[in-house]
Symmetry: C2
């Protein structure tokens, strides 16, 4: 078997066998097949796509490159949530302790901010002392004791995915559905979980710009998960505006703490409770097909756990278990704030139709809150507070956002970018639901 022939076959639009994909992935992983052949292959996949069977094969090949965590000695259903990446997406911070407080074990391997999207690890590290580099031993110990733990990728789990992603990132081959699906699912299947709920973002701030693309990605991942014994559901959610009211690590931690106290933006609440209801359903009743009533009951159950403070207490326990300073969780005003703030005011009057999430993510990056490359430092206190959401009215000169930052150099540009992200119309359109579709 030769890498050349595999590239050529894919280039011609033929489907590759599992053996061919495994040969390529293993060879790349072990350094026998050079980067330049793999990047040509990736570009051919971008243009030709992959059959379902091929995407399964690629996922298996990547999964096979590393270890699968064994969580079988931890009692309880192990259910994870994964988002394809958005702007202002702090759902995990609320959802993980919430589900743990409902008796679900939540083992999360999370990522970092890149380009216009945020990362759960960066947000958690805004809590002083919070450790995200855990050993598998510590991770499992936390799961057993607290019921939830969130850590970064380890060398053991799907190591080839990191290498492949790094290559995709510099060769413009990230946004290919089979490559995204196999990357996500190989990592998630390696977690040793029983169930998975996927948040597939759709809109300007997401990789999937249209509902059709989002549905194809969701469908592919759901099929892979279920075929490999992990009950999987995908919820397609709208990313035509940032989720919730803040963007930036410290700001999002504070917003998450408010949410755990029951004060949150409508869209953040809707996404969190919908994903949570499906996680709870899968965790309690594996494999069954729920009616609306069952899902509604799960939502109510989660609402009660929030109202009773159980979810918040679980968050505190998780922060304690990972050596974070839970004092700041109890008094969020102690979390470090940026030194400078700047108002952004509307340049015309009307109703907000859309807030381009990608532009807001880039504006936030300009303020220092994100990173362009994995090597860049992140200013955890920088970010944006939205004063308006889609559907709101704003007057000319009225404040639409507040920028928080320490370094001056990107602030003016960020403000201009923010304004350019706003679509303002004279009449109010009924805002669409943030939940677009459930794929299972």
């Amino acid at each position: 078997m030769r890498a050349y022939d595999i590239i050529r076959k894919k280039r011609a639009g033929s489907a590759l066998s599992g053996e061919e994909l495994s040969f390529l992935v293993t060879g790349f992983s072990e350094g026998r097949i050079p980067d330049y052949q793999v990047s040509a292959f990736l570009m051919a996949v971008f243009f030709r796509g992959m059959t379902e069977e091929e995407t399964f094969g690629l996922t298996d090949a990547m999964l096979g490159s590393g270890a699968v965590l064994d969580l079988s000695d931890i009692p309880g259903p192990k259910i994870d949530k994964h988002s394809t990446g958005g702007v202002g997406d702090k759902v995990t911070l609320v959802l993980a302790p919430l589900l743990a407080s409902a008796g679900i074990v939540v083992p999360m391997i999370a990522g970092r901010a890149l380009a216009h999207t945020g990362g759960t690890l960066d947000k958690l590290e805004a809590i002083p002392g919070f450790r995200t580099s855990l050993s598998v031993q510590e991770f499992k110990e936390n799961l057993r004791r607290v019921g939830v733990s969130i850590m970064g990728q380890t060398e053991e789990v799907a190591p080839v995915d990191r290498k492949l992603y790094a290559l995709r990132d510099v060769t413009a081959t990230v946004d290919s559905i089979p490559l995204i699906a196999s990357s996500i699912m190989s990592k998630k299947l390696a977690e040793g979980i029983d169930g998975l709920v996927l948040d597939v973002k759709c809109g300007s701030g997401a990789f999937m710009k249209t509902p059709e693309e989002a549905r194809t990605l969701a469908d592919t991942m759901v099929k892979i998960g279920n075929a490999r014994g992990v009950k999987t559901v995908a919820v397609i959610t709208d990313m035509d505006q940032p989720l919730g009211a803040t963007i930036g690590n410290s700001l999002e931690i504070r917003e998450s703490i408010s949410a755990l106290h029951g004060e949150w933006a409508r869209d953040l609440r809707e996404v969190t409770l919908t994903l949570g209801a499906w996680m709870l359903h899968i965790g309690k009743n594996r494999g069954g097909t729920p009616d609306e009533e069952t899902i509604e009951r799960s939502r109510r159950e989660l609402g009660e756990l929030l109202a009773s403070g159980a979810a918040f207490r679980k968050f505190v326990a998780m922060v304690d278990a990972q050596q974070g300073d839970s004092g700041v969780v109890l008094r969020p005003d102690l979390i470090r704030q940026a030194g400078k703030a700047r108002k952004v005011v509307a340049d015309r009057e009307g109703y907000i139709l859309r807030i381009d999430a990608e532009k807001i993510g880039i504006a936030s990056m300009l303020l220092g809150a994100g990173r362009e490359t994995m090597a860049d430092p992140v200013d955890r206190s920088a970010g944006i507070i939205l004063a308006k959401k889609v559907g709101d009215h704003c007057g000319r000169g009225e404040q639409v956002a507040e920028l928080h930052y320490n370094r001056e150099d990107g602030a003016v540009e960020a403000g201009e970018l923010f304004l350019s992200a706003l679509e303002i119309e004279p009449r109010r359109s009924e805002p669409k639901s943030v939940i677009l579709e459930v794929v299972r």
Copy 2:
């Protein structure tokens, strides 16, 4: 400017500017842009193609990576011929001395055998002592003294082309028209020539499988050449059977010597004289549009130079000038022959409709006459003599070819491959002309 953005732009199907192409080629040439980004770019070009303007820009960028030979101090019109690569294509060996005997200066930078195609340098090196690694100084001295010289690529001329071709060769991105056109034309424009005649092969043994593809490639190269001040004509020729009667280095040298004595296969004669007539026309009458009569007169002139022995004497002078043993040219039976021979006989009766040149090229490679990778050694005495050409009748069991080889291991497979390359039909079809079209 970033390589990433250039890849992404090409991937989206947008046209790149000359600055962008130059940035990419220069960066690659100087080692600043890594192979893996360039191979992703090349695959994107394979799928998206390039506009005429882009192909010009890519050619200029490659040309700019090295030196352009200065032949202005050599009197006479400098005209080269280039073939896109075929099987049994020994045209250069006859054409170069023939045109030199007509007063045209022929400065040829030639290539080596790769995959199923042969290479002029390997053929010339079947003449004992023949040197193809010349300095530019020696090359120019030969041109001045003999009027013709054939050498291999040098470090000075279009160095990035070798690096880029090596990358294309292992990433399945060779057969892209803009990449082929810019590769050929950047090398040819760097020769400092006044005119160029291109032999664009079309058929199973060629990169261009259809007349449409061949025409596009021919048209692209003719436009590039003329736009850059080199009068360029392309002749599209048929490669649905090997050219002439032999394949393999020593065998083709012997066939070329016979041709210079006026004994040659009809197709080899036709291609050689047509290309030669155009070279002569360009050389004598730059820029004019010839009528058929003019071209016919050029053909007759070349025929006379063959008949008088002037072309053959020029060949001997060229061999002498490059330290080859001209004794074997005068007595070709002295050229080393392979130790073993094996007949191939037809497995059915009928008329030969087609001899798949690609398969014959591979059969010849199996006998040791070619190389799969640039590092492989070549057995110069191995090869194939065709006993039949398209249009000929053969009886069942009648000999259709003779295989020449030294190593036994590939001979049986080569014989089977040869037979599978034959299309034999009960009725005779009128063979088509080997000259398909002239593009200028």
